[in-house]
Subunit: 191 residues, 2 copies
């Protein structure tokens, strides 16, 4: 049992993508946060980021497969410094935001270090954050309703990233260094 679990943990960690992340700008509904972290776990996001909503961080939705154990969420007080930090680390920050410069999300190259910026349920991505981002991306909408649910938008983009990274062989060899991988294997075995 324990050997099997350790093997699974090693396999998952060997698929983790330290160069793929999300930054949530004041997403505040527990079921959205939980759904986003599950998608992050599924595509191998190593670490997620969130700007704490005015009302405080949402609690996790206990009923859904709790991915928060496997995808640490780093909290930020404000969006702009968080975006600048990701950019300084070499990430392109893609704001999901309808603007003049917005492009179809399928046109981007997600094999580059990429952080997807998602906005609050009501207000979306802030103007300042959208401007600070490297690009604005949009999922084409052909219906009457103006926007998708935020966890749906997150997943749609993350699975496009997964598709591109699968094709580029980025899940074939571990992207974490061997020491981190070993260390985390044991942390995850005894959570």
């Amino acid at each position: 049992m324990k050997a099997e679990r350790l093997a699974k943990i090693r396999r998952v960690l060997s698929h983790r993508q330290p160069t793929l992340s999300v930054l949530l700008e004041e997403v505040h509904k527990p079921h959205n946060l939980s759904a986003i972290l599950r998608s992050c776990d599924a595509v191998g996001v190593f670490e997620a980021h969130a700007v704490v909503p005015k009302g405080g961080m949402p609690t996790y939705n206990a009923t859904s497969g709790s991915a928060e154990k496997w995808v640490p969420l780093r909290l930020h007080r404000e969006a702009l410094p968080a975006i600048r930090e990701m950019q300084a680390r070499g990430f392109q920050v893609l704001a999901t935001h309808l603007s003049e410069r917005a492009v179809d999300y399928r046109e981007l190259d997600y094999t580059r270090p990429t952080c997807v910026l998602l906005g609050a349920e009501k207000w979306g991505v802030s103007q300042a954050a959208a401007e600070a981002a490297d690009a604005n991306v949009i999922i084409p909408m052909m219906g009457m309703v103006q926007s998708l649910n935020v966890s749906v938008a997150a997943a749609t983009i993350l699975f496009e990233a997964q598709r591109q990274r699968l094709r580029a062989g980025m899940y074939d060899a571990p992207q974490l260094d061997p020491e981190t991988l070993e260390l985390l294997s044991f942390e995850w075995l005894y959570p």
Copy 2:
């Protein structure tokens, strides 16, 4: 104002895809149902289907862009007759279900008449429904958690269908016949 709205309605109806649908098998959380219908609206699903959960149909989530006005939901008492009806109408029914015969969702041809079968939050697609389906499809999971949120899974597959249908030019000319399109334009203008 009204002319603009009529133009938008006509544009949306001219993108509707009568050959793309979903069948929800006892999905019961309001926020999931609402999120799925928003995604349906965005990719042009003309009509969605649901097997009524034991506890009754969920109410809609009033806070999210209410797509239920634009995507009629046809209710069914049981899954198997609903699946058979879709198949009799020429749809391939794709059950999102992990089984021996499950294939990567990206390998399917969504330009064919397609109905995506989605399962309940807790129990997933029933064994009988999965067997009756033409294929079982799965979104590749590389993390610790076993499944995605159901609205996330629905969207991931629907936007793959949108991608394939965009490429095949299926949004370039109306797929509804001219009479239906005109009739619905006026129904939608005065809902």
